[in-house]
Amino acid sequence: MFGIPEPWWSVIRAVVWALFIIIFLAVNAIVAVWLERKVSGRIQRRIGPQRVGRPIGWAQTIADVFKLLVKEDVRAEATDKWVFLLAPAIPFAAITLMFLVVPWGKNLIPLNLNIGLLFVVAVTSFEVLGLFMAGWGSNNKWALLGAMRTAAAMISYELPMVLAILAVGMTAGSLNMNDVVNAQSRVPFILIQPVAFLIYYIASLAEANRTPFDFTEAESELVAGANIEYSGLRWAFFFLAEYGSLVGTSAIAATLFLGGWRGPILPGPVWFLIKTYLLVYVAMWIRWTLPRVRIDQLLDFGWKFLLPLALADIAVTGIVLALL
């Protein structure tokens, strides 16, 4: 294309996509934090930020970013040096990888992997590893408790999540994200697989560390959990990953269940963003309504309710598919 030889063309393509995803995640964190403040404000009859960037406070998060940039990067003497220093990069890297297989529009996909769905599940497991490293490396008791919770919780919600994604794969007849979107050209999967959507959405709230499943950092119990010892830019990376994870899981949910970029009149990427941020908003709405569950209750809920439900959903899907 454009007279550039093939191997170089794919390199340029990869670099452009990588830059795009990283910039998107950075901008997303700014927008999502602002949105969270505004949504929580409205729910609580407040107005949220409004001073920096009047009248809607659009520059508040940008100001916060600058504040974090100039803050001191503190590392305590007793921390596990390399584990502590590397930990913030890993959740962010995982989220960036996750966006590799998310289609933005027709033929607008960074990497058209034929097993994109599995890829998503695989890379998200890194995120938990990063939180665990942060909790362990901090050598702080509260952080260690947060790390313990992370490891325990992950096993219980990843399984139902994978099964819910599998149900979508079965319905679409493919694990390719593009195929899944194309299979929803008539009816979005939320109508065909409502149970799978619920399971995925609940599990994704746990994945993104959102209330009611935000016990990894549960500020009223563990003060700040795994990232308690971090400051400045390293802490900002956790924040970036947290909101990236929120928008990432929402984007996957939008692609798998709401028809992805498909929609009338507007171009694909616009529809994709609308659907994604609709789900982001729902997650925020849920966060500012519900109390936090206890860790053992999440494990109970995951193993005794979500997992059997997901298995039943897969069984029913299989039978229906076999009969059709």
Binding site: S40, I43, Q44, R45, R46, A78, D80, K81, W82, N139, K141, W142, L144, L145, M148, R149, T211, P212, D214, F215, A218, E219, S220, E221, L222, V223, W288, T289, L290, P291, R292, V293, R294, I295, D296, Q297
Partner: protein, 377 residues
């Protein structure tokens, strides 16, 4: 290897122990002030909790020995700073008994109204922070919203928002004027709506139910043995309310129910407090109808130099607040002792803690509605 030989010390009480000892507080978001609880954890399960108090100690009882009787009143505000009126009330009752002062009827009704509004305000703060301990931030701000109308009323009547110094020995400082009555009306209306909203938003929330049910159970016998009072005692099924059982002021002329729990867990104590808020609204409405005209300040001796001793207790939002006063014929009290319910309830923490999770710890602290100003005095 360079890194391998480095140790990663995790502080432990002693070598070979399984437990992790963690300081919860004095700087912790959920200890409602400067409470430090030393908790021993096995995994995430609590094995012991050891409350450490005194971070807010101000020698209140000793200070009272050096100042005159009227001057003690502002200090009583600062024990339970979210329910100042009821604390003033306990002191005023004790001082009136010591001095033999009669309180005019209108003043008594004003005290009842202010005291019950104060109970509502205190329970609102407790409701909000209890919800926030469980991770629900929004009920906190809704509670703050209603509290604002309540504090508008308090400010209109007393001139300050939190530490009123409103009660006087033998009466109250001033009457409630038209602005005050209107503000009270607005507050009552807001509370009627708010209680319904709280129930829909939080009381019936299944996550809240599973978080609170079965946490911190307290049988009736245990509650009595621990010296519990107020909602903690009533949540365990003991129907004891000083306003009904040992009526002071004009409570014997007012009709209200005493809500009582059954299993004595955090959920029951929650419900008892929520139902108490309804009863408080009822009491205020009756008091508004019954309030007679007249003086608001009884006859007080010019120089207060009583001898003897007096003990008075009132039903404060958190339990029984009591004041023991001894006078020796000088202008200063000879001795004063303050009974604060939170101090008594704090000993329930080590009793409850073993076997619960860290997440339950904040629920347990929240369920006794702790105010550190009262614990430390």
């Amino acid at each position: 290897m360079p890194d391998n030989l480095r140790s990663t010390p995790i502080t432990m009480p002693d070598e070979g122990a399984r437990e992790l000892v963690v300081n919860m507080g004095p700087q912790h978001p959920s200890t409602h002030g400067v409470l430090r609880v030393k908790i021993t954890l096995n995994g995430e399960t609590l094995e012991a909790a050891d409350p450490d108090i005194g971070y807010l100690h101000r020698c209140f009882e000793k200070i009272a020995e050096g100042i005159t009787y009227p001057q003690v009143m502002p200090y009583t505000d600062r024990t339970d700073y979210v329910a100042a009126i009821t604390d003033e009330w306990a002191y005023a009752l004790a001082a009136e008994r010591l001095l033999g002062v009669e309180v005019p009827e209108r003043a008594e009704y004003i005290r009842v109204i202010m005291g019950e509004v104060q109970r509502l305000l205190s329970h609102l703060i407790w409701f909000g922070s209890f919800a926030m301990d469980m991770g629900a931030v929004t009920p906190f701000l809704y509670a703050w919203r209603e509290r604002e109308t309540g504090y508008d009323f308090m400010e209109t009547v007393t001139g300050t928002r939190q530490l009123y110094n409103f009660l006087r020995i033998g009466g109250v400082r001033n009457d409630i004027d038209d602005d005050g009555w209107q503000a009270l009306d607005r507050f009552l209306k807001a509370m009627d709506q708010a209680l319904i909203e709280y129930d829909t938003l939080f009381t019936k929330n299944p996550i809240f139910e599973v978080r609170a049910k079965g946490i911190g159970p307290l049988s009736a016998e245990e509650a009595i043995a621990f010296g519990a009072s107020g909602p903690v005692l009533r949540g365990s099924g003991v129907a004891r309310d000083l306003r009904r059982d040992e009526p002071y002021s004009v409570y014997d002329r007012l009709d209200f129910a005493v809500p009582v729990g059954s299993s004595g867990d955090a959920y029951d104590r929650y419900l008892v407090r929520m139902l108490e808020m309804e009863q408080s609204l009822r009491i205020i409405r009756q008091a508004i109808k019954q309030i007679p005209p007249g003086d608001i300040q009884g006859k007080v001796p010019k120089a207060m130099k009583p001898t003897g001793e007096a003990y008075a207790r009132v039903e404060a939002p958190k339990g029984e607040v009591a004041c023991y006063l001894v006078g020796n014929g000088t202008v200063n009290p000879y001795r004063m002792h303050w009974r604060s319910p939170c101090f008594t309830h704090l000993q329930l923490l080590p009793h409850w803690a073993p076997g619960n999770l860290v997440a339950d710890m904040v629920v347990l602290i929240g369920t006794i509605d702790i105010i550190l100003g009262e614990v430390d005095r």
